[in-house]
Amino acid sequence: MEIKVRYFGQLAEFTGKSEEIMTQDFKTLEGLKLFLFDRYPKLKEVHFKMAQDNSIESESSELKGTLIDLLPPFSGG
């Protein structure tokens, strides 16, 4: 299954891109996170939340969506 992964804020600087398509299978959001840590080690430097199909979910959640967002600490206002 194809998923789109989007990197927000400074995470886009760590990966060098704002989004990418992945075709690998991951069971959970954490599975995807560990894969991304391997590919982009700098991602380990900032704590981020993960969202699946526009809903922030825990890393143990089953990966069943097609849009995954990595959200660094919020700094609105």
Binding site: R6, F8, G9, Q10, K49, A51, N54, S55, I56, D69, L71, P72, P73, F74, S75, G76, G77
Partner: protein, 146 residues
């Protein structure tokens, strides 16, 4: 009070004219006896000798609007409010300009004063907006909320 998910985002700074008009729109709602407003302004912080010239905001807008909707519903169920407006900038906002506007109204002063601080804190903590502080020499750092 249940309503649809609203878009809180405005491209660029929030103009003082818009804020004035927003107040004026409530003059026909004569059950209102009190308003409270919070305006966030871009501060020219100095970091290691460099001054912030502007903040560039980005957001995960779908989640941001949904979370603001939830925060809005929480406030309406908790406080006796007549209406509430939340606006946040996207894109570049220069130092001294307004980037964040929260406006609550009620029959009396206590609900608006009590709810406003809570609303601002919840929005800052829970809404996925990201501020990139741009310095005069073209370098930048990512804003961290206190």
């Amino acid at each position: 009070m249940k309503d649809r998910v609203k878009n809180i985002f405005i491209e660029g700074p929030i103009s003082p004219i818009k804020i004035g008009e927003s107040i004026a729109h409530h003059q026909s709602k004569t059950k209102i006896g009190a308003h409270a407003l919070f305006l966030g302004q871009v501060r020219a912080d100095t970091v290691e000798g460099k001054t912030v010239e502007a903040i560039e905001y980005t957001a995960q807008t779908e989640i941001a609007n949904q979370v603001c909707h939830e925060i809005r519903e929480e406030a309406f169920s908790q406080y006796e409010l007549s209406c509430m407006h939340i606006y946040h900038s996207l894109g570049v906002v220069k130092k001294g300009e307004i980037c964040f506007f929260v406006f609550v109204s009620s029959g009396h002063r206590t609900p608006v004063i009590d709810s406003l601080n809570e609303l601002v804190n919840k929005i800052k903590a829970r809404v996925p907006v990201f501020g990139k502080e741009l310095f005069e020499d073209q370098s930048h750092q990512w804003k961290v909320n206190q």
